[in-house]
Amino acid sequence: MAGAGAYGRKSAHSQPNCSKSGLGPGPGPDQPIITCRLLRSLFTPLIQTLRGPILSSSSTSPLIQRRVERPRSTRSLPSVYMKFTCLSKGGNFYFPPCHIITVSGFRILLDCPLDLSSLMIFSPIPTHAFSNPELPSPDSVDQKRQKHERPIDSSELIRAQPWFKTVTSLHLWNVPFIDVVLISSPMGMLGLPFLSRVNGFRAKIYVTEVTARIGQLLMEDLVLMNKEFRQFYGCEESGLPQWMNWEKLESLPSLFREIVLGEDGVELGGWMPLYSADDVKGCMQKVHTLKYAQEVCYNGTLIIKAVSSGLEIGTCNWTINGPKRNIACLSSSIFNSSHAMNFDYHALRGNDLIIYSDLSSPVLEDVKDNSCYSAPTSQKSSTLSADNDQEASAELLLSTSESLEEMEKLNFICSCIIDSVKAGGSVLIPIGRLGIILQLLELISLSLEASSLKVPIFIISSVAEELLAFTNIIPEWLCKQRQEKLFSGEPFFAHTQLIKEKKLHVFPAVHSPNLLKIWQEPCIAFSPHWSLRLGPVVHLLRRWSGDENSLLIMEEGVDADLALLPFKPMAMKVLQCSFLSGIKLQKVQPLLKILQPKFVLFPEDLRQLVSYSDTNSHAFFYYCENETLPVPSLKNSSELEIAADLVSLIHCRRLTAESIGIGRLKGDFSVTHGKHQLHSGSEQADSSQSRPPLLHWGSLDLERLLAVLEKMGIRGSVEQGNSDTDSENARVVHVYEPNKALIEVRENSTIISASNESLSSLIFEAVDGILSGL
């Protein structure tokens, strides 16, 4: 267990959360590659043996076994209920959750990610040194494997142009019926071109300006990196690729099979060949970009707003305000960021419903010690007033311990990097987090300077130049400390200066002509992609994997065993590190306390980990993947706003018995900005004159009617209802002066029949005077 646990959290001087180990030359089973603090907790399904049913017969299509039924048109459902379906819990930072909700009759998709970790079942492009046509074909290996599960051999990786795994359940939904797509991070955007290119796609896509830009760059980079495969394997065959044949799938190692088919064996339908550059372009044209806290009104009904989540630059949480409810969609958020604008949780207050969708749970392993988190405030003496309680919660939320811990981690990484370059090794950093890259650049350059080392830093990526330039023109999206730099006229990030001083070199590709001119080792290289299957990183890793002084920095939550498979045997050191990717579990309850929602939609997976004291007023609904939850609303009636000038026109009638006033209201109805409004309409002129009441109640007293008629100069006589008429109790008034007319009075109705219009209206006036009406 080389180095394992040496930096364990429990050690006396609490070293940061990283662990390092040298990689043995052979893939022996007793040689664990890496021991890390967070043991791939989010990937547990992947490393466990298959639990779900394995499809053994090739005739069974995986798409038949479904847990979700195709949703019926929700427009027919009572709008009091909101419906929520979790399509995917996601995996890690790079694969955020994906949900769909139906609110006020509109269907809203939250994020559209790609599961890029599944790329690891493919082999990277073989180099000439590496590609060996004599390698045993997967079929022959297969026989051995099925008998006794042994470590997977790199030859078992699928040698084909990779396909990409989308959120499978999303394909069960009718794309043209999606009304709105809300994207919360660049990672949540990577699957969007698959959706937007569907015929009939008409949803409005809302994305923050910065997420849109970064997301676009990431997608373009992905397309470009994927092109390398196309050049290698040639044009893609039409139809399903070979590896998707059932025979081939069955012969895959169980781990691969689970990645391909999913836990329940139904996910094969989610695999797609990557979109094209044109798809990306088309997708971006359909995107509506927003600023933080910019309100946008969808269809006059929903007010949609993005507020910063602190996870990365431009990432956001969404609030949706409809006439019946206010919803906050809480994605992975970081309270104190050292690059992006902080998590703006105050803006989420006052929402009835919180969709808690931060599944990053960065402290799962702590659970072992504490079994669960109860509210720290509830343990305090109950004499604390609510105000104090809130303050205490806020204090806890904003404590900088997390960011200090993160800083410590980065410093530790830096020290490892310096050690490596001092020993003459190069350092390879394929991490895909923009914020981490920007901070590492600053720290590394400082460390290099401090130890007066002249080691060049390279960033090799087709989009790096633009991405770096972009980060220096978006002060509005950065954390307070960086914003201060704007006001003192300095660049927000150090890389501008580093490039100027020629300490940092940015190249679009490994074969860039200028790169070869200045290339020098040891060096520090940042390069995508973190899956170690695509992009310049593959070439660099092959180059350095045999050098025991070199260092590879990887992220936890990535299956390192699998990721490094094609590069074995490896002499290179590997440092695996976890970074804060969301709300820590102990902060969940204090946060909810401050937000005070009435309902919380909470992931079932985290249910056991967060306990709630019964003082909380919010009701919890727990959700699982692919289950639709109806969420009731508290409001039964909606609010109507009536223009003041319209109100002044109302002829109010007071009901004598009760202290109730009633009046008729007529106007132009509109739904704007989520509000029902009644304006004074075009028909103002005639509504200002008093109109005859249209609705009557009460009973008609004949004696009074005759008296009133008499006053009007109308004479008549009462005739008791005779047996001829169909209704027994009808009493009839025959009017003979000034003209013939007839009034037929029953308990609940009156019929006026007169020979001319004026007499008829006079009689009506008399009747109206006696009845109550409006």
């Binding site: 600023k291 806290a293 706003e641 132009d668 009460g698």
Partner: protein, 649 residues
């Protein structure tokens, strides 16, 4: 409810913009500028009118600054640090970044050059700016529970914004200075269609309509090119921010295009530093400039370098941007003294020059000599070129904005009185919107929107949203088809959807008002409905029955038999349909128009048959009933029916 607008500055003048608006109890100060034309107490707005006790923190809920020009931000450090206001202040990111530069520059000029007593120190500026909350465009800022503000792009200068403010149901926009046409580096003003009670707009060019700027730009470039080609030096006195960058983009592009190598200099560090800010804030410029950020930031001027004092007398042509503008002193005056006597040189004056400055003297006459003070006189032989670029909107732009926003009231500020009066007339006559242009320290009071809030039932909302289709068949002859000799009579069905929301408002003591649909009322108040209906049994002539082919009626009774009922009804339908249009419907047993119900009456004695005596003509009786809503239409139909003869087809 009312909105109260107290104009503390820029009322019927240009300078020291400051308007204090009270909306539903919330008080907002828009801009806090200083007047550059005065040196006494008149340079600042009269803050004592806001609060006699000088307790500004309770008197004002927030301050909003639209852009970094001194006539909009100049009095802010004084107000916060000297008057003691410590509440929230909002401005856009560029304004927050660039305002301290402007303020410090001004303070230096005041103290160091003119030797005046300073009104606020550098420290005051820094402390003041620390209190500022920076906002992004379109970001909705909740100042407190009730007050909401939002910034919109205004063009004019980098970071200039129009501000929207809303308290309860009342809303307004204060434009600050804005430009409705894009220029070299900025975009045009942009705002949402908002429901506004009040719009406070600038009116610098209340009566001017400007032509395209491109001609003037060409002229400027030609003049500069000619001068440097002849070996002359070009002096462009300008303030550090705004115009300098705009002209620099223009020149830098031109140099690139014409492959010129003549150096362009920026005088002091200030402009170089300002360029740094512009580079970082490039996303606040126009689309074209913005897109350059990745490859080559447009504010990374290729041909521009910083100027050294020793270069003043260096031989050879050059272009120099020198601060301050208007040649009011400082470095630009120093250079002017040395370069003015040579006729090879050119002085280009961009923008407006205040009276009293050398810039003003140069543009108003063609002086050959200028007296600097009693002892020093400069002979002016160089060429003078005036550049009338202005980042303000013109009259057409103001009218466009007012028309677009269609507020209930308009207040004009930041302009000259006679021109404002003429614009006011135009707004009132052309757009029918009430308009005011108060003088300084005047208050304008206008009523504001107020909505009555009521709970409403689902039935009411559904009925209001239900389409209310009216079908009108119009028969139009296609006249264009006459050539083909076939006059095609095409019947066009017009569909109108006139939705009218009708409901009943119920107000009960100590309860929120409720709006329900008519059908729900009786249930709510616990009463039984009493149906009031009208009835009339109407005879319709059927003429001589022999003429009606195929119909054998029992003449003696004057009424028709059951079997013929439908055909009579159908005949009537055909007749009425032609007279009434598409609204009438045939249900087989009866006809219906809204609540009017018409069916054939088969009774010998119908109680609703009021006509006396025997029928002279053979007739069919139709029983009509209707409710009060359709009284007029019913009588109209009856009169049609009584004059009909069903036998005439």
């Amino acid at each position: 409810m009312a909105i109260e607008c107290l104009v503390l500055g820029a009322g019927q003048e240009v300078g020291k913009s400051c308007a204090v608006v009270t909306i539903n109890g919330k008080r907002i100060m828009f801009d806090c500028g200083m007047h550059m034309g005065y040196l006494d107490h008149r340079r600042f707005p009269d803050f004592s009118l806001i609060s006699k006790s000088a307790d500004f923190n309770t008197a004002i809920d927030c301050i909003v600054i639209t852009h970094f020009h001194l006539d909009h931000v100049g009095a802010l450090p004084y107000f916060t640090e000297v008057c003691g206001y410590s509440g929230p202040i909002y401005m856009t990111y560029p304004t927050k970044a660039l305002s301290p530069l402007m303020l410090e520059d001004y303070r230096k000029v005041m103290v160091d050059r003119r030797g005046e007593q300073e009104l606020f120190s550098n420290d005051d500026i820094m402390k003041c700016m620390k209190k500022v909350i920076a906002v992004d465009l379109k970001q909705t800022v909740q100042v407190d529970k009730d007050l909401q503000i939002r910034a919109y792009y205004a063009g004019h200068v980098l970071g200039a914004a129009m501000f929207y403010a809303k308290v309860g149901d009342a809303a307004m926009v204060y434009t600050g200075d804005y430009n409705m046409t894009p220029d070299r580096h900025l975009g045009a003003a942009q705002i949402d269609r908002l429901q506004l009670d009040l719009l406070i707009t600038e009116s610098t060019y209340a009566t001017t309509v400007r032509d395209s700027k491109y001609a003037r730009e060409r002229e400027f470039l030609k003049a500069v090119h000619k001068c440097v080609a002849d070996g002359g030096k070009v002096l462009i006195p300008t303030f550090a921010l705004g115009r300098a960058q705009e002209l620099c983009i223009l020149l830098d592009n031109y140099w690139e295009r014409m492959n010129l190598k003549v150096p362009i200099y920026f005088s002091a560090g200030l402009t170089i530093q300002a360029n740094m800010y512009y580079k970082m804030l490039i996303s606040w410029t126009n689309q074209r400039v913005k897109e350059t950020y990745a490859t080559h930031n447009a504010f990374d001027f290729k041909n521009v370098r910083s100027f050294d004092r020793s270069l003043i007398n260096a031989p050879g042509p050059c272009v120099l941007f020198a601060t301050p503008g208007m040649i009011s002193g400082g470095f630009s005056l120093e250079v002017f003294k040395l370069w003015a006597p040579s006729e090879m040189n050119l002085v280009t004056l961009p923008g407006y020059c205040l009276a009293g400055t050398i810039g003003h003297k140069l543009t108003t006459g063609k002086p050959t000599k200028i007296d600097l003070d009693k002892d020093i006189q400069i002979s002016v032989r160089c060429q003078i070129h005036q550049l009338s670029f202005s980042p303000h909107t013109d009259a057409k732009g103001i009218m466009d904005l007012v028309k677009f926003l269609s507020p209930k009231h308009v207040i004009l500020v930041h302009g000259e009185k006679p021109k404002m009066a003429s614009l006011k007339g135009k707004i009132e006559s052309d757009l029918g919107i009430q308009c005011y242009y108060p003088a300084n320290n005047d208050t304008v009071c206008i009523p504001s929107t107020c909505w009555l809030k009521a709970d409403t039932s689902k039935t009411f909302i559904r009925s209001s949203l239900n389409p209310n289709f009216k079908f009108v068949k119009t028969i139009s002859e296609d006249k264009s088809n006459l050539v083909s000799k076939e006059t095609e009579a095409t019947s066009v069905l017009q569909v109108h959807d006139e939705r009218v929301a009708e409901g009943i408002l119920i107000v009960e003591k100590s309860k929120k008002a409720k709006v329900v649909h008519q059908n729900e009322l009786l249930l709510m108040i616990g009463k039984d409905k009493h149906d009031v209906q009208f009835a009339y049994c109407c005879p319709v002539q059927i003429g001589n029955l022999e003429r009606t082919k195929g119909m054998d009626f029992a003449l003696s009774k004057n009424v028709v038999s059951t079997s013929d009922e439908c055909s009579w009804l159908h005949l009537l339908f055909a007749k009425l349909a032609t007279k009434l249009g598409g609204n009438i419907q045939d249900f087989g047993q009866h006809l219906q128009v809204d609540s009017i119900h018409i069916s054939v009456c088969l009774k010998d004695i119908c109680p609703y048959r009021t006509t006396d005596g025997p029928q002279k003509e053979p007739a069919v009786f139709f029983c009509c009933t209707w409710s009060v809503a359709d009284v007029n239409l019913a009588w109209e139909i009856i009169s049609i029916m009584e004059n009909l003869d069903l036998s005439i087809i």
